[in-house]
């Protein structure tokens, strides 16, 4: 050991967890689905433009653009989070108890795309309902593991 190492010994800084890597949770997907719903709600119920106030029109377009961007981003996050659960958390044996899983994930992620393409309360509600079903299965699988 040289003097440099003596003065500045290398210690360990943990950039991971005390528990095995791979902490899974359906909450991010549920939050993203809820955000999509809220954005659709805002887009469909905009504040009215005051024709006598030029700033009002600018604000309207600014807000509307933000809602669309957030809707797009959150739908993408939702899709990714659901797919992570599907590919990493759920195991083949879970299909025995939940044979609908593959179809459910497929439909859920399809709804993510539909919510990107469209502005529809119905699609947003369907997305939330499907993500909740995934979360429900997740909870049951996790409870069974314990």
């Amino acid at each position: 050991m040289n003097l440099f190492d003596l003065i500045f010994p290398v210690k360990k800084a943990y950039a991971h967890c005390d528990i095995p890597c791979g902490v899974y949770d359906p909450k991010p997907a549920q939050m993203a689905a809820e955000s999509v719903y809220k954005m659709v709600e805002k887009i469909l119920n905009p504040t009215q433009i005051d024709e006598n106030d030029p700033a009002s029109r600018v604000n309207y377009h600014n807000n509307m653009t933000r809602y669309v961007i957030v809707k797009e981003q959150q739908a993408e996050i939702c899709k990714r989070e659901v797919l992570i659960l599907w590919t990493d958390f759920f195991k083949e044996e879970n299909l025995k108890d939940f044979p609908e899983l593959h179809d459910l994930v497929w439909k859920t992620t399809k709804f993510c795309s539909k919510n990107k393409r469209e502005v529809s309360m119905e699609a947003a509600k369907e997305l939330q309902a499907n993500v909740d079903k995934v979360a429900e299965i997740f909870t049951k699988v996790k409870a069974a593991v314990k």
């Binding site: 290398v10 800084a13 950039a15 991971h16 967890c17 005390d18």
Partner: protein
């Protein structure tokens, strides 16, 4: 207070990727917060369960901090264990060599 102003830490784990890769050695300023306060975005080393963890500050609440890994998919952080005390903070990670430059 650490008498040595600087410490070297080797990163273990993947929660700070892509900022820090496993095995990378970083320098930490142990005196960084003697005269200034932590700021959101700072990379810190702090005590946690008899270990030192490295995370990024995402929120500051008076004497408490919320921290998160840059790779949230693989990170145990404030989303799980909540706030940490300011007293737990050991130092601030200093800038390291630019990415892509290997010596």
């Amino acid at each position: 207070m650490n008498l040595n102003p600087l410490s070297r830490y080797k990163i273990v784990g993947h929660s700070m990727e892509p900022t820090f890769r496993e095995g990378e050695v970083v320098w930490v300023n142990n005196w960084a917060y003697l005269f200034s306060k932590p700021r959101v975005g700072d990379l810190i080393v702090f005590d946690f369960n008899k270990r030192k963890l490295v995370k990024r500050i995402i929120e500051i609440k008076k004497e408490h901090l919320l921290v998160m890994g840059d790779n949230p998919r693989d990170s145990l952080d404030s989303r799980k264990f909540g706030e940490i005390e300011f007293e737990q903070v050991k130092g601030k990670v200093l800038l390291r060599k630019p990415q892509g430059v290997y010596i």
